[in-house]
């Protein structure tokens, strides 16, 4: 088993929470893991990414090679496309459709969405709205994780345990909202809706 996952977004959008939960599920499933993160200057509103590698064999490189990613998970659509060179020909592309417009030259959003739609293996979803319906706009990242969970080959319960693990100290209510959000994201992927 091997899953190479690129997580993408804008500094402050919570991709590291997604990484931690997947990492938790992987470790609890007895798999090896390496996860490269971005700290420092880029976190100030710049593009951020994390390379998450899971395998039942030894993992050498902390970085995923171009053409090697099995899944790209992004909480922002243009950021998802930035990592397209990493995507393997058989890889899946999961992205939130809502842009973070903090640069003056952000492209027309429809052009971004069209570009994503030109891919064959993709799930693009309005994770912000789904998160709000689930009880909190903050759980947008969990909606995206839910949609991606279909392609991770990890037991879904382990991801749920991961949510309890990282949100546990914030109280039961927060855990509950995030569980609902992940489930709603998963349902979208199951239906194959766009």
């Amino acid at each position: 088993m091997k899953k190479d996952i690129i997580l993408a977004g804008v500094g402050g959008q919570g991709i590291l929470s997604i990484a931690t939960i997947i990492g938790y599920a992987a470790i609890e499933s007895g798999l090896n893991l390496k996860q490269a993160e971005v700290h420092g200057m880029s976190q100030r509103g710049g593009d951020v990414q994390s390379h998450l590698r899971i395998s039942d064999r030894q993992i050498y490189s902390d970085l995923i090679p171009h053409g090697g990613a099995d899944v790209i998970i992004s909480v922002e659509p243009m950021e998802a496309l930035r990592y397209k060179p990493y995507l393997s020909p058989s890889g899946w592309f999961i992205s939130n459709s809502n842009p973070v417009v903090n640069i003056p030259n952000y492209p027309q959003i429809q052009n971004v969405i069209d570009e994503i739609n030109s891919l064959t293996k993709k799930v693009i979803l309005d994770a912000d709205s789904i998160a709000k319906e689930s009880g909190s706009a903050k759980s947008m990242n969990m909606v995206v994780l839910g949609a991606a969970s279909k392609y991770l080959d990890l037991p879904y319960e382990k991801l749920e345990e991961g949510i309890s693990y990282i949100f546990g100290r914030k109280g039961e209510k927060v855990v509950e909202i995030n569980l609902i959000a992940m489930k709603a994201g998963r349902a979208i992927a199951e239906k194959g809706l766009q």
Binding site: V10, G11, G23, I27, N32, L33, K34, Q35, A36, E37, V38, H39, G40, M41, S42, Q43, R44, G45, G46, D47, H51, I59, Y60, S61, D62, L63, I64, P65, H66, G67, G68, M78, E79, L81, R82, K84, P85, Y86, L87, S88, P89, N102, I103, P104, N105, Y106, P107, N111, V112, E115
Partner: protein
């Protein structure tokens, strides 16, 4: 025991703790910051009361570490690569004083300059100082090496460098812990002149340092971290240093490409293994994360021996960090199928955060400097360096910690007016105070903005050493009280702030303006805390 999931930085923190650490010193700097942050939060470190504070700068940190070593305790000092320049005086001389309790100098380099102003390779410093260095290839090695580093440090009475780079510092993997070692009891150096570098003593110590260099080479030759994989195919020998090993192993199918591989993770470089690989193989390919240190040594100036490829002959790029693609190409393997970044994607550079106090300060400065023309503001290292980017375009320089004030002095001495410096509170504490002393001493005609956001923001909110005492420092150094002005950088104070700044520019002499408002993240956190009360 269950594995811990640790960043490379954290693995060093945990390794040092488990190997009997009594104290940690450092100055925050990406990608080194998380070593001390980890020790600060670690429950065992708290229980054991391991000393774990930030220092004013890397030099004071290393000197404090030497003091703890003098007292017989194991200590770690952490910094980023450019921080070692600041600590260089202490580091170079510590090679002569040596250590009593074990000393690890942990330096995190940043090839590709993700968050830095250059990409210097700290291994050159260890070679320069004739001090041993470790370069882990993964998180487990980073952990394990701490034990070995203290052992080596105390065996030879020398500080030992732990050199890592960004990708290891900020990448997580499972780490298995070893049995912990008790902290050293306090004990002074056996030789009372060990830390005395009067010339007559220093000469003797230098001779000693030179005389043990061969022993250190032997240590490297016998090191468990320097491994030799004998290959059947002798057409190529591969030498890899530290993290580069991972990219080679990621790409190389040993069944198909059965080359000999020498992995170097302990320095000075192991002569015996180098001799073996270069006598058995037809040519050598060297992979180093950073500058071509080993490659240059092997190639020599005249380049007349065995053919050596790497960064110097264009097989690998001369600058920047390695990655799986670059290494794959250098190994002569075919490219994996991949696609380009779509044209629709635009760059998204980092920017000052919404609500950042620096924005209002720069707006006020811009309004005034507009009438003097461009290029009047010298700046420094921190979040506020982002003030160079549009829409602010407010500053003209960023060189090293503290350079804003000293450069403004030089420009003013040349007759440039107005000469303005912008420096953050933590950077002022690090290296700005001495510049201010120069300014006061020569009555330089400059205006210094000490932008006090209550924290070391860029590296993730560490304590600022000068917190709560900036005015007193300026006053003590001799800035006239009436020319130390505190302003609150908010848009509603804009007009008033512009007036105050203009007045200080018109004054001939040293003025200090302190725009004071907490970093927006610190402010938000404090609001949350209030709410939870």
């Amino acid at each position: 025991m269950k594995k811990l999931l640790l960043l490379g930085d954290e693995a060093i923190g945990q390794g040092a703790l488990d190997a009997g650490l009594s104290g940690a010193y450092g100055y925050p700097g990406t990608p080194s910051t998380e070593i001390i942050e980890y020790i600060q939060k670690n429950s065992e470190a708290i229980k054991r009361n391991v000393h774990r504070t930030w220092s004013a700068n890397e030099k004071t940190a290393l000197e404090s570490a030497l003091g703890m070593s003098y007292a017989g305790k194991r200590v770690i000092v952490t910094m980023k690569h450019v921080g070692l320049n600041v600590a260089a005086d202490a580091y170079m001389n510590s090679a002569l004083t040596g250590a009593n309790g074990g000393v690890i100098v942990a330096v995190a380099d940043d090839p590709s300059m993700h968050s830095s102003q250059n990409e210097q390779d700290s291994r050159f410093f260890s070679k320069f100082a004739l001090l041993p260095a470790f370069e882990p290839s993964n998180q487990q090695e980073a952990y394990d090496m701490c034990f070995k580093a203290y052992e080596l440090s105390e065996k030879y009475n020398l500080p030992v460098m732990m050199r890592i780079t960004t990708r290891l510092a900020h990448s997580r993997a499972g780490v298995e812990r070893k049995k912990t070692i008790k902290e050293n009891k306090m004990h002074l150096p056996q030789n009372p002149d060990q830390f005395m570098l009067l010339p007559a003593f220093a000469r003797k110590k230098y001779q000693h340092l030179l005389s043990i260099n061969e022993d250190l080479v032997k240590e490297s030759e016998n090191s468990e971290f320097n491994t030799y994989q004998d290959g059947k195919d002798k057409s190529l020998g591969i030498i890899v240093c530290g993290l580069a090993y991972n990219y080679v192993m990621e790409n190389l199918d040993i069944e198909k490409n059965n080359f000999s591989i020498l992995k170097i993770s302990q320095y000075p470089i192991p002569r015996k293994q180098i001799e073996k690989i270069s006598s058995e193989c037809e040519k050598l390919l060297v992979f180093e994360e950073g500058m071509p240190l080993v490659e240059e040594m092997l190639k020599g100036y005249l380049d007349k021996g065995i053919k050596v490829s790497g960064r110097l002959d264009g097989t690998l790029p001369r600058a920047g960090e390695l990655n799986p693609q670059i290494v794959r190409k250098a190994l002569g393997l075919s490219k994996l199928e991949s696609q380009e970044i779509p044209l629709v994607v635009e760059n998204r550079p980092p920017a000052l955060c919404k609500g950042c106090p620096h924005i209002d300060t720069y707006k006020a400065i811009n309004e005034i400097t507009a009438k003097y023309g461009k290029g009047h503001v010298f700046s420094d290292i921190g979040c506020y360096t982002l003030g160079f980017l549009p829409p602010y375009n407010a500053i003209s320089s960023c060189v090293d910690m503290g350079a804003s004030i000293s450069m403004a002095i030089g420009a003013a001495d040349a007759g440039f007016f107005p000469a303005i410096a912008t420096i953050g509170d933590s950077t002022f504490g690090h290296s700005g105070i001495t510049g201010l002393l120069d300014a006061v001493e020569t009555d330089s005609n400059i205006v210094i903005f000490i932008m006090d956001n209550d924290t070391t923001a860029m590296t993730g909110m560490q304590d600022s050493q000068v917190n709560g005492r900036i005015e007193k420092i300026c006053l003590g150094i001799g800035v006239p009280e009436e020319h130390i002005k505190v302003i609150n950088p908010l848009s509603r104070n804009h007009e008033e702030n512009v007036r105050i700044i203009q007045k200080e520019i018109d004054y001939t002499g040293v003025s200090v303006i302190i725009p004071r408002r907490p970093c927006i993240h610190v402010y938000k956190k404090s609001l949350k805390k209030e709410k939870n009360k």
